[in-house]
């Protein structure tokens, strides 16, 4: 590229760098601050001494959260809901997307219209709630994983992936006498690992982050997912005090605020560890979705 070293170009460079450093700071500082708070002593937090680095480093808040048991249990619940939910999502999405990727499927445009209508219009919150309770799913894990078993958006992205496979692959197998199920499971899916990972991660993140269905369908706190417990502790300001009292039994004093910061970090960290590796799949999916959408 021809290098432009004029004054206006330099000025633009400076402006761009300043802008980018502001973006970096605004994005990272709140996270760094919350992590530091969670690792500082309750005294330092109350005196307002903690900025972007822990003061009087301690892991007492984490020990207390661990000992109180609610958060670890909800963490396990979330792992369970996410795994089960994503598995159901992938099976259902593939079963819908693969037939629809065939141009010669009978009633194809009818099925597509049926899908697209639901992207613009639906029953809304109350009829959905009444349906789920009517099906007897109240207070059960199925209320969390069945109503959202297919995201039409993801299904259409998956269909686009399938349409990209060369037809010769399948035709030779069909001539050899394999039926469509065989073709799908032993030829197409092994070739679609990257696409399945992309769509699977879209689903997994939305399960992991979801809290609203759990808040209306689950009664027992023992079944709450992590996000709901996080809301109770940090936003509704509940349970943090009781958990802080647990701290008295294992060691020494820890404030409710320390507990809140620690729970916040526990909920953020798993995604932060995964996302740098997962982001290339996400970006690919996001771009495909945008082209189609």
């Amino acid at each position: 590229m021809v290098h432009d070293n004029s004054f206006s170009s330099r000025a633009l460079d400076i402006f761009v760098y300043i802008f980018m450093f502001i973006v970096l700071a605004v994005t990272l500082m709140p996270i760094l601050h919350v992590v530091s708070m969670s690792l500082s002593s309750s005294g330092a937090i109350n005196r307002g001494q903690v900025g972007l680095w822990p003061v009087e480093f301690t892991t007492i808040a984490y020990n207390t959260v661990w000992a109180a048991g609610t958060v670890p249990r909800s963490f396990i619940n979330s792992v369970y809901y996410t795994t089960l939910g994503t598995l159901i999502n992938l099976i259902m999405t593939v079963l819908m997307a693969y037939p629809l990727s065939k141009a010669d499927l009978p009633f194809r445009s009818f099925f597509m219209k049926m899908v697209i209508i639901t992207m613009f219009f639906g029953g809304g919150m109350i009829p959905n709630f009444l349906l789920v309770t009517r099906l007897g799913l109240f207070n059960s894990v199925w209320a969390l994983v069945l109503p959202g078993a297919i995201s039409s958006m993801n299904m259409i992205i998956m269909r686009t992936f399938f349409e990209g496979h060369p037809r010769e692959l399948e035709e030779s197998a069909i001539i050899d006498g394999a039926n469509d199920f065989r073709v799908l499971f032993s030829i197409i899916l092994p070739l679609s690992k990257a696409s399945l990972a992309t769509i699977g991660m879209f689903y997994a993140v939305s399960h992991w982050n979801s809290w609203f269905p759990a808040s209306i369908y689950l009664r027992d706190m023992a079944r709450f997912p992590l996000q709901l417990i996080l809301r109770e502790i940090v936003i509704n300001n509940q349970m943090a005090m009781e958990m802080a009292e647990v701290g008295l039994f294992i060691d020494h004093r820890v404030s409710a605020e320390s507990i809140q910061y620690a729970v916040l970090v526990i909920s953020i960290v798993p995604m932060l560890l995964i996302y740098p590796f997962a982001q290339k799949y996400f970006v690919k999916g996001a771009m495909l979705g945008s082209i189609k959408g």
């Binding site: 206006s8 996270i31 109350n46 009829p127 078993a149 709901l228």
Partner: protein, 310 residues
Amino acid sequence: MISRIRDYDYKYLKKRIKRSKYLLLMLLLPVTWYIIFNYIPIYGLLIAFQDFNLRLGITGSRWVGLMHFRRFFDHPFFWRLIRNTFLLNLYGLVWGFPMPIIFALLLNELRNVYFKRFVQTVSYLPHFISTVAVVGMLFMILSPSVGIVNQIISAMGGDTIHFLARAEWFRSLFIGSGIWQSMGWGAIIYLAALSGVSEEIYEAATIDGATRLQKIRHISLPSIMPTITILLIMNVGSMMSSATERVLLMQSPITFETSDVIGTFVFRMGLGMADFSFGTAVGLFNSVINLTLLFMANAFSRKILGNSLW
């Protein structure tokens, strides 16, 4: 003659169905799911016109016509709900919509590839943090007792502000935290469009003496214009929808003056008070408005800009 053609079509269709029987069998499960979890709730919208009673069900409940809609129009909160929903979206559009565009255009000007990739990766990060955690961080950072913002304010001699209990702060906090979470991720589609612009066009412009600002204005911006239009249509089309879950997390009765939107009202009336018919009616009213807006925005864009969703 016609009947012979129909007969032929019918036979041909039968042949196609037979050939695709396994594909149709595959569809059985997901199509059943679509009917149960999408079309039965649409059928359930009928309760908006009933005095719905759980015990009697849809077939047994009394029909009341448009009573629940009239109840909503006459409700003391009606105009407040319309205003709050509209303003939250309008301000969100005005502040939030240009941010990913500016970010993508400036990112495109970075010459250092590694720094560019680093900024991009960091900018995606908030997208992966759950809404509950983002709102939780907001609560902690703005907390009147230990939050760093109030500690800075009081260190400088000011009075602490309980931001989340103040109606006048709600919209700014809602939109600001929304931008924080979605700016980087929202830039992806623009960056994809920008990466499709051939390097030669920029070089030709350089040889013709164009400055970099002129190149942004006359090459980069036009190249993402179709994307901007489409996203703008979708945004205008959702002008009266509400990010109910996020508002629910951030609002409290003290801030209802600005924070109560149609979606949260539906939640409170329909599920909180178990007034199912009323909640459904309000929700239906809202989705009809949304659908109308989307069609209008699309028609407008096709006429004026020649670019549309469908």
